[in-house]
Symmetry: C2
Subunit: 185 residues, 2 copies
């Protein structure tokens, strides 16, 4: 399992951290010891919504080599969804088996054409924006349809991370990682 | 309100993001429009536990100028709690009114001497480690005692962030920010 965490200017830090924490614990807790991941961007530095400077370890790299890409949300999605260079780069992940978003990250999956004829979700403030890109917007916390999995607003990121723990490593992984993170959600 | 988010090698990203997200929304949602914050470290770059490279905007700066410092947890705390340079730097915050930690960040508050004669909490795996530094370890999710507020394991970071929203800006801020983040915890 090799994962690309997509980062960009205007990302919401909790959208990233919420899914990143349980998923990467699959490695540290020994469930998927060979798991690897990269932080991928189209710029050499990324500025999170509140000003935190984050440095990706991969820039404009080929996303077709990953088993999964994970796209967090944030204010920045409203610009990047119309950025041809960015969307073309995201489209390099078109054939991989698992394309995942949190919150308004689904607008990026949608703009890349990955949600055509699929059910999906997003932050509840962005339901109308997502509608043109998919078959149906579901008002659920997590929606899986074919090769795409989308989640709702901000903290649903944690729920999606635990959902992936269960999907990729089984129920015990979900339960044990949830316990260690003391998650009550 | 001017806040220092303390970052260091081996930090847990969700410990940081969980409290950072609701607290900084106090500014964006208009509750504390003049709020400012810095990301402070003793090194020019910080490597999060899973490899994410983060660049602080303040390095080895005087922490006595802030209204609050917030120290997340992570594996790195087990080394930094014995690092004289780091602890001396943290001690520059000794006289500020609000010293806050998430998870094993309390080991840093403890090593700096801030928890003497105080009740505090930490990640449940670190209760024994914290005991020598405080009067009593409480097995609660959030503990406030005088000028120190400590929280439990990982996702309690979000609860502490919302607790601070209520403390600093009132119940409406807590409720509205919780709603926008769709937090069920």
């Amino acid at each position: 399992m090799n994962i690309a965490f997509i980062i960009f200017d205007g990302i919401t830090l909790l959208d990233l951290a919420g899914i990143y924490e349980p998923v990467t614990r699959l490695k540290y807790a020994g469930y998927l010891p060979d798991m690897t991941w990269d932080f991928c961007a189209i710029t050499p530095m990324v500025e999170e919504h509140g000003g935190l400077q984050i440095k990706p370890n991969q820039v404009k790299n080929d996303l077709s080599v990953y088993d999964a890409i994970i796209i967090p949300g944030g204010k920045g999605t409203r610009e990047y969804m119309y950025d041809e260079t960015f969307i073309k780069w995201i489209q390099s992940a078109g054939k991989i088996p698992c394309k995942i978003s949190v919150c308004t990250g689904s607008l990026i999956l949608g703009a890349a054409g990955f949600l055509k004829e699929k059910k999906a979700t997003t932050h509840f403030d962005a339901y109308e924006m997502l509608k043109p890109f998919c078959k149906e917007v579901l008002y659920d916390r997590i929606v899986e349809d074919g090769d795409c999995i989308t989640a709702g607003a901000v903290t649903s990121s944690i729920d999606l991370g635990l959902y992936l723990c269960r999907k990729w490593a089984g129920g015990e992984a979900d339960i044990m990682i949830r316990y260690k993170m003391d998650y009550k959600g």
